[in-house]
């Protein structure tokens, strides 16, 4: 088998590749390791939970409405730390730059990274730079790694029947914004990426109540994240279609293109399962933060398996993990 682009799309196909890439026998440093395929690893050191994660970024275009590759490369790592319940402390940054890349663009990227770091309350403390021959990559690749400290570790597999599912805001904004910008669609209305560092918001949420499981719905979108959570937790999740927060512009753009907004990436959202009793307090904490104004309860956890959408017209359908590319199936 050769690697193809579908292997990187975050869907079911990527799982095949991961089978090869996760064959490490040295995969756990004492807490949560690679075997969990969670948002990050946890390494207890002297009674402190150190959270550790890494992420590489190759977004095209580099600059898009609502953000750029710099902001994403900081937020990706900050949010992965946050999803484990960790306060982001320090990040590293490895840049691989193509010969001929504009230094002015580099300056914009760095400024944008710095702004996101400031928002997250974290520092970029070490780095590495490589320049490669023209043509050996497309512009720039940014890798960040980060460490954080978690008082309470939150996993992505802790959903229990009785929990309610909360999303922290509108879904699909980033994916649709990037698509529209990259393909040059005039959608009649500008759609902005939601890319944002979430620690500031989640610090308050973690204090407001218990979170049984959480995940940031990046690649593969909400559909991928919620399926992974349900599968790992061995529960069924029931989502109510008309409670899912969707920006009108995103909905209309997705409708025009035949794209499911639940299957495209978000870069500033959280999906979490919380005990029903804590839901109000957690929602209030979310609503009090600028990144959580549109937070909503979208569903609930019951015994069983799979993720099921209760549709607006009274039907039911499965929300399936995206394959990578949609294939028509209506006869």
């Amino acid at each position: 088998m050769k690697v193809n682009l579908m292997h990187g799309a975050g869907g079911e196909v990527m799982g095949e590749l991961l089978q090869t890439l996760t064959k490490f026998s040295h995969n756990n440093a004492g807490g949560i390791g690679l075997e969990s395929l969670d948002d990050g690893a946890v390494i207890p050191i002297n009674g402190t939970n150190i959270v550790f994660t890494t992420d590489s970024h190759v977004v095209r275009p580099l600059f898009f409405p609502g953000g750029d590759i710099g902001r994403i490369s900081v937020c990706g790592t900050v949010n992965d730390l946050t999803m484990m319940g960790g306060r982001p402390v320090a990040l590293s940054c490895g840049m691989v730059i193509e010969e001929g890349f504009d230094v002015a663009d580099l300056a914009r990227i760095v400024a944008s990274m710095d702004e996101a770091l400031g928002e997250a309350g974290a520092c970029l403390v070490t780095g590495d730079t490589k320049v490669v021959e023209r043509g050996s990559l497309d512009g720039i690749v940014i890798n960040t790694a980060g460490i954080g400290v978690a008082k309470t570790v939150v996993r992505d597999n802790g959903l229990v029947p009785g929990d309610v599912i909360i999303v922290s805001g509108t879904l699909g904004d980033h994916g649709i914004a990037i698509m529209a910008h990259r393909e040059g669609f005039d959608l009649g209305e500008q759609i902005h990426s939601d890319v944002a560092p979430l620690w500031g918001m989640m610090e308050g949420v973690l204090a407001a109540g218990t979170i049984h499981a959480m995940k940031d719905p990046t690649r593969g979108g909400f559909a991928s994240a919620i399926n992974e959570m349900a599968k790992k937790s061995r529960v069924q999740v029931r989502i109510e279609e008309d409670r899912i927060p969707l920006r009108r512009s995103v909905k209309s753009a997705a409708g025009m293109l035949g794209i499911d907004p639940l299957e495209v990436a978000n870069e500033g959202k959280v999906v979490m399962g919380v005990p029903a009793a804590d839901a109000d307090a957690i929602l209030a904490a979310l609503h009090s933060h600028k990144y959580g104004k549109d937070a909503a309860v979208v569903g609930r956890v019951v015994a069983g398996s799979h993720v099921i959408m209760e549709t607006a017209i009274g039907g039911e359908r499965f929300i399936e993990p995206p394959m990578g590319d949609p294939v028509p199936r209506v006869c």
Binding site: F185, D186, M256, L257, E316, C331
Partner: protein, 740 residues
């Protein structure tokens, strides 16, 4: 000359009055002995001078039976005088219980015999008629293994049951007012309506325009008179979908042209919904806005009683479920789910063990394989393995092959949602149990995202058995013939070998080796499934031209929508390529402004066919090309011809649209036939198999038939299975069987 022996009869020999039939023949020929059910076979011990005459008579079987084999062996058993029907033993499951059978004329006569034991009794039946599959829990088929077990026979019924001279001798469904299942009429809240005769009262409510949920043989119907169709459509939110009707015997002829063959179908033991051409195409538009209407005759005592009280000659009878979801069978579920749809509920208390929708037929083709036909059993030799075919996703059913027979379940529906997937799983489990089938291999559709594919993979993993993926359209051909052939599949969408979407395919070879040799030109589906829902997108996918955009603009598309779609097609963003025939018909319907949004399965193509009915087709020169070794028919060229006609027409009235619609269908069909004829010449094959959902379109089917036959080739269509996706699970089994 043989005068004694043990006779083993295999086939559909249960639930068809086989044992009483044998008893009667034994009396006739002075035979001593016994008869009993063994699993799904019948075992007879017989002794008498006229043994051979008896054997010959028994071998013919009663009318509803299907006899596969009769084996006679010598026996040393002592056979005392007299003939007895013994209670059932266990045995093999090689046979199958028959489907539900419409009430027979003798039972109808009983219901309307004043002072008779069955006068006015809604569930009257006999050995020749009544429910079977819908009430069975296990085989052998005996009362205690059906939902009739809840109704112990009264002395009078027990007497008839034991009387060899009665039509109800050993009739497992025997029941009367005193002992059998009874009716209730309830309001929308489930409270009993005070009345002496629920059927008479229900008829009065229907005559008054009310909508009733009626519990029938295999599930609930929603029923109302024609005048209430608008109200029913509004309540269901199905404004366009045509409803089927049940009519008083003799009335179908007043609303539709009924050929002798169609009349025979209507009155057959199946009593299916028969799609008939209306006398006046525009009549009964509130029930069906097509040129056709689906009609059926009353098929239970309840229906006959209802019509005996009803003033109106016609009732809309549509199965009570959301489109694509299983029909509702249980009264409490109906009360909960139909509260907004039905004003009243007419229900019985006989458990529906197995759901069965009404079967639908047209021109002798089965469009929906269900009540009266399914479980469908076909003798075919597919090797020693037991095979499960889980079907495709839409209009699915399941088939199990075991020991020389393939058995197909009733229609399951669109396996797109948890409820229908659960129903498919339940159906497979039931078939497995009734057939005693432990399968060794699971055949499934090639589509990676079909829920049925996921289900197949789960079973295979659970049981550690093999999986056979079968390309959708090859399954269509495999369901038609296993001989060497040119296979035409004209269909909606199916996942192809190359990951694109197929549906207008010509194969050559022999199952399981069918090479794709020709197809419709691949065209763009802008937005994937979105293009199926909005046929105008498909139109632009096929004809990506300014003239086409101008047309859409004139119909209210905004500049943003136009711009996005143009860019999407040009850039290939979320665009799938397809050779589907169904999508070409959709585009044609969109071009003519006949259907802009698909609200039910097949809507654009059905409306196109209606619009074309009676039209005069022009002949357009087909345009062929070669792509990767396959001959391709340009569908773009056909639509472009039509677009030119539309642009040239001074006034686009119904007549002009009719002729263009007819030309579109004619030239598409002719082009497809040409692909097959060319392939037949190249390959030296003289047999052409035709399958796919589009075969239901009479104009297209008959054009292809005429072209194929006028070229000296033989056309094969399987009339025993649906041409649409209801044949796919069977085809999957055939494919998997032939593969080993």
């Amino acid at each position: 000359m043989q005068t004694k022996g043990k006779i083993l009869v295999r086939g559909i020999v249960q639930g068809v009055g086989f044992r009483p039939f044998v008893y009667a023949r034994a009396s006739e020929f002075g035979i001593a002995g016994s008869v009993k059910n063994l699993g799904s076979e019948v075992e007879i011990y017989a002794r008498g001078e006229r043994f051979l005459e008896f054997l010959a008579a028994v071998s013919r079987g009663p009318p509803m039976s299907r006899i596969d084999s009769v084996d006679v062996t010598d026996t040393d058993a002592r056979i005392p005088d007299g003939f007895v029907i013994r209670s059932s033993g266990t045995g093999t499951f090689s046979g199958m219980i028959p489907p539900d059978i419409a009430i027979c004329s003798d039972c109808i006569a009983d219901i309307f015999t004043p002072g008779g034991r069955y006068e006015g009794y809604w569930a009257t039946s006999c050995v020749n008629c009544g429910p079977r599959y819908s009430i069975i829990r296990a085989i052998p088929y005996d009362r205690e293994r059906t939902s009739m077990d809840d109704f112990p026979k009264c002395p009078a019924c027990a007497g008839e049951y034991g009387d060899p001279h009665s039509r109800r001798h050993h009739a497992q469904t025997i029941a009367c007012h005193r002992c059998g299942p009874s009716l209730r009429l309830m309001d929308g809240a489930g409270a009993d309506l005070p009345c002496t005769d629920p059927v008479r009262e229900a008829a009065a409510l229907l005559d008054a325009g009310k909508i009733l949920a009626i519990r029938g043989v295999g599930g609930f119907h929603l029923a109302c008179i024609g005048e209430s169709s608008g109200e029913l459509k509004a309540r269901l939110g199905r404004l366009e979908q045509p409803f089927a009707v049940m009519v008083r015997p003799g009335y179908a002829e007043t609303i539709a042209c009924v050929s002798p063959a169609e009349r025979e179908l209507l009155e057959s033991p199946v009593h299916p919904i028969v799609v008939l051409e209306k006398c006046v195409h525009s009549s009964h538009a509130g029930i069906s806005n097509l040129h056709t209407i689906g009609c059926m005759l009353p098929y239970t005592g309840l229906h006959h009683l209802l019509f005996s009280h009803l003033q109106h000659p016609l009732l809309i009878m549509t199965s009570a479920n959301m489109p694509g979801y299983p029909m509702i069978t249980d009264t409490d579920v109906a009360l909960a789910k139909l509260a907004k749809d039905a004003d009243y509920f007419l229900v019985h208390n006989r458990t529906i063990e197995n759901r069965v929708d009404d079967s639908v037929m047209r021109d002798g083709l089965i469009l929906r394989l269900s009540r009266g036909i399914a479980p469908k059993r076909t003798a075919i030799s597919l090797g020693s393995r037991c095979i499960l075919g889980v079907g495709p996703e839409l209009n699915a059913n399941a088939t199990i092959y075991k020991g020389g027979f393939a058995v197909t379940s009733p229609h399951v529906g669109n396996v797109r949602n948890p409820a229908t997937l659960a129903y498919l799983q339940e159906t497979v489990a039931k078939l497995e149990r009734l057939l005693g089938a432990e399968y060794d291999v699971v055949a499934h559709d090639l589509h990676p995202q079909f829920l049925s594919t996921r289900f197949a993979k789960e079973i295979a993993e659970e049981r550690g058995i093999g999986l056979v993926p079968v390309q959708h359209h090859r399954a269509h051909i495999a369901a038609t013939t296993t001989e060497p052939c040119i296979g035409i599949a004209i269909d909606g969408v199916g996942y192809g070998d190359d990951g694109t979407i197929w549906g207008g395919e010509v194969f050559a070879g022999q199952v399981p080796d069918l090479a794709r040799v020709a197809h419709l030109e691949p065209v763009a589906m802008p937005g994937g499934d979105l293009a199926t829902r909005f046929p105008e997108r498909m139109l632009y996918g096929i004809l990506p031209e300014e003239a086409c955009l101008d047309l859409l603009r004139s119909r209210g598309w905004t500049d943003v929508e136009i711009g996005v779609m143009r860019k999407q097609v040009a850039g290939g963003f979320n665009v799938t390529m397809t050779s589907s025939t169904g999508r070409v018909l959709d585009a044609a319907a969109a071009l003519l402004g006949i259907c802009r949004e698909r609200t039910y399965d097949g809507e654009p193509a059905m409306k196109l066919e209606s619009a074309a009915a009676g039209g005069k087709a022009e002949t357009w020169e087909p345009v062929f090309s070669r792509i990767g070794g396959c001959e391709c028919l340009s569908t773009r060229a056909i639509l472009k011809e039509a677009l030119t006609r539309i642009s040239c027409a001074h006034n686009l009235d119904q007549g002009v649209i009719r002729d263009i619609a007819a030309s579109l269908q004619y030239n598409l069909a002719r082009g497809i036939a040409a692909l097959a004829i060319h392939a037949a010449e190249r390959e030296g094959i003289s047999r052409v198999a035709l399958s796919g959902g589009v075969v239901a379109n009479r104009a297209i089917r008959e054009t292809i038939r005429a072209e194929i036959e006028s070229n000296g080739l033989a056309l094969l269509i399987n009339y025993a299975y649906p041409p649409g996706d209801g044949c796919v699970s069977f085809g999957q089994c055939v494919w998997a069987g032939k593969l080993s």
